[in-house]
Symmetry: C2
Subunit: 214 residues, 2 copies
Amino acid sequence: MQGREISQAVIQRLPRYYRYLGELLEDGVERISSNDLSKRMKVTASQIRQDLNNFGGFGQQGYGYNVKYLYTEIGKILGLEENHNMIIIGAGNLGQALANYAAFEKRGFVLRGLFDINPALTNTEIRGVKIRMMEELKEFVRNNDVEIAALTIPKDTAVEVANMLVDNGVRAIWNFAHTDLNLPENIIVENVHLSESLMKLSYNICRYNEKHKE
Amino acid sequence: MQGREISQAVIQRLPRYYRYLGELLEDGVERISSNDLSKRMKVTASQIRQDLNNFGGFGQQGYGYNVKYLYTEIGKILGLEENHNMIIIGAGNLGQALANYAAFEKRGFVLRGLFDINPALTNTEIRGVKIRMMEELKEFVRNNDVEIAALTIPKDTAVEVANMLVDNGVRAIWNFAHTDLNLPENIIVENVHLSESLMKLSYNICRYNEKHKE
């Protein structure tokens, strides 16, 4: 597990393994073969074996995988055994949706604060977390060991806010703004561009229609 | 443009081109060379040329790309010149965030209805679109030529609802539920698994920390 470079393609698939193993665990399944997991996840058994081999395997030939163990190990690899302090910038619908999603907390993402420019939100809170005004953001970040900031603000202000956050110690940005942030290379950025995902959907509809017209 | 299979990797990049070209257009830029576009987008000029060659090029050697023309053509390829009737199932924070995002409508995604199980939402509306109860969903889909359904409902009901939608003519699902839908192959599904994106972020933080400890 230590020191090896894992391809982003594998990393992209890990959370999905984690989700399926979590469901198996909830269903009381203790062991699963790569073949059965393959059927459930609709990927080939050889891909599963290959992917999990990146982390030293976990499987015993003929016995399948120990679900609990595999779930825990993948959780560790994904960094879910540690707590990550998180804030959300932008307490509109999307920011509130993220704040209300309690499952994040279960995985170690601890919501420390929400920030907005709308004075009507002063002194309101979501799941016990206070919504603060943007003026307080800089000091808050400096004093609260904030590791991750989710940005659900318009693109015109996102770049500036992101730079300020990074200058004050934030290590990772979960970016929902419709723009690229161009931050220093040591900052982790994960983009969720919803409109781009919708365009991909629409492309695939058109493509399908074209094919079936021919 | 017709009849060729474009790789999903290229398709994944198209909306980003579209976004950058839209910004250039807003800034009044009429022409751009692949080199300048490359600097802005932080991808190599050769990748840009290669990607756009999939659609017959658009560029004239030495003259660069006509921004307006390229923007329009990529829009056509992405299916944004046509209207797509869309509904949103689940009018919680996430559903409302999607409904309030007016830019979708500009791109041809026309919101026809919102559905929820919460009776308190009966007779309320978002941007002029009525929130209806789930009991009305089936008939609504049958009568309103709904092409796309966004699912922002819990995973326990998502599969059942998705199947019902598809049985009644919905062609594409924009899935925010934390589960895979396993729909027939002719149905287009675009998944947005937010918790998986957050896990990827956390993985990359841990990875970075490990590397810099060594």
